[in-house]
């Protein structure tokens, strides 16, 4: 397959992109491409599709491959993408990572094998090693996905260091969704050149100041322009302006995160677009109840927050 080398190192604000669904719960590829195009036009430097927010682990491998293929086919640059590819099983993680890498993505976001709990660092090292060596593609760029609240399989700093040392360049960065900003900064400091993205909006500015490269967040599906303003003010040294926008971004995030994130964000997009099918979500996730949806809308009204205009 002829595919470009990985894009320049990814940086900045990435949405953990929602996956819109038809009423029969099949992916709505057309709406997905439209949403992605809108995100790239409104503050996103790149897109992390098929992560936790994108309901990735509720799709089959074939569905995940088709979602990526059709998105790239619709004109979204593969080099702007960091799709999630981490499954419980090595063969499935290898298949998804190899496919995405072959399409020219900027990197792949890889959960640890997350069924078995209490596994050792040696076991996790062996599992990531098997994935990297079986993909066997020099273009592979692995972003480790640390989300202990969801996986119950934390990635220790020692493990991260061992993987970077063994696969320099390939183990390129991480998304840290632990919410522990101090730990993210310590990881960035410990491994120069290792690209640490915050998994939660509140950590964006502190992590940028502490050596991180950006964020990959659910709330960027509707508020990436705020993240982009934080990033711009940080880069131009306007510390006070950066603090102000970060405070607003954090307030918006808190309002949304009072509800399950995928359901809440789909509710916001449904209200914003008038497209009812935006509320479709795969079980065991559930759409917001009407009262929750109303309370979320009120909370965002009180913050005078709305997503950017569509189209």
């Amino acid at each position: 397959m002829t595919a470009p080398a990985p894009a320049a190192d990814p940086t900045g604000v990435f949405a953990a992109v929602l996956t819109p669904l038809h009423d029969d719960l099949a992916p709505d590829h057309e709406l997905f491409a439209r949403h992605c195009r809108w995100l790239l036009a409104h503050g996103c430097d790149g897109l992390s599709i098929l992560g936790t927010t994108g309901e990735a682990n509720l799709f089959s491998r074939e569905e995940r491959i088709e979602i990526l293929d059709r998105l790239v086919g619709a004109g979204i640059p593969a080099a702007s993408l960091i799709p999630g590819t981490g499954c419980c099983s090595i063969p499935e993680t290898v298949a998804l990572s190899r496919h995405a890498t072959g399409r020219g993505v900027a990197g792949v976001l890889v959960l640890p094998s997350f069924y078995y709990k209490g596994v050792s660092d040696d076991g996790l090292f062996a599992a990531f090693s098997e994935v990297i060596e079986r993909v066997a593609d020099a273009r592979l760029r692995v972003y480790l996905y640390h989300f202990p609240q969801m996986t119950s399989v934390p990635l220790s700093r020692d493990l991260i260091g061992r993987l970077i040392a063994r696969y320099p360049g390939t183990v390129a960065g991480m998304k840290d969704s632990s919410g522990d900003t101090a730990a993210m900064i310590e990881t960035a400091a410990a491994f120069p050149g290792f690209r640490v993205f915050a998994g939660s909006d509140e950590s964006l500015l502190p992590l940028l100041r502490g050596g991180g490269v950006g964020c990959i967040t659910a709330v960027s599906n509707v508020a990436a322009e705020l993240g982009a303003k934080v990033l711009a003010a940080h880069r131009t040294g306007e510390a006070k302006a950066a603090d102000t926008v970060q405070a607003r971004l954090s307030a918006v995030r808190r309002a949304i995160a009072a509800y399950p994130l995928s359901a809440g964000l789909k509710e916001i997009m449904a209200g914003h677009s008038g497209v009812e099918s935006w509320r479709n979500i795969r079980p065991p996730l559930m759409r917001l109840a009407a009262a929750e949806a109303a309370a979320l809308a009120s909370a965002l009204d009180r913050l005078a927050f709305a997503p950017p205009p569509l189209a």
Copy 2:
């Protein structure tokens, strides 16, 4: 496809069968069939393949399908099998459950979708409903797999009751690996006809006395004859004999469960058979270290325990 109707309701001692691997980590179908035949000849009433102990979630869907097909092809009766088919995604759980049901298995053991945490009973009910309705096969027999320590997604008694009420006959039973014997007994009492299997050997006799139908356990890979003796003594009303064998079974279980179960049991089978490849295991699981293996062997020696002879 012409397949028999589900077998008579499964009862008794089921092994949560280990999956032997070649050195390249591919399933060793021949050794697997031999192991299954040996288990059925030495105390097992049936076999729950591709569960937690069997490293199921470390295999791809295709591997899981081939493992079942080749086992049945090798002459192991499908009606003796309750394979695990629960994945994170509905389409994958549907594919595995439909395939296994079509092959004539006694039932399928279905984990809840286990990536997302903190999901509601409504969400889990919707997910199980989607699976059952999409499989759309009257022969389907679902055994709910409750293993909160591994999934962090518990199945509440209320949810179980709702599923039984909505899908009577189809939602046929459960494997309860919580270790909470009192809760298992309460579940068996709450839902007459619902077939509750203990997921841990210590619960076997108390659960039989409390209305359960048997056990599905890892330790039955090496000690099913003890479970079978418990069952026989219970059935013939020899309470004291049942207690005595149960105490021995529990002691053997405690010695083995001091180590990760799949690795410890593979170590025992390697030592017992002289087949070194028995120690192969998929990362992130790891084989026992030499010192652990020696300590486990000593502990079993002190109990004067050994698996039955290999044919």
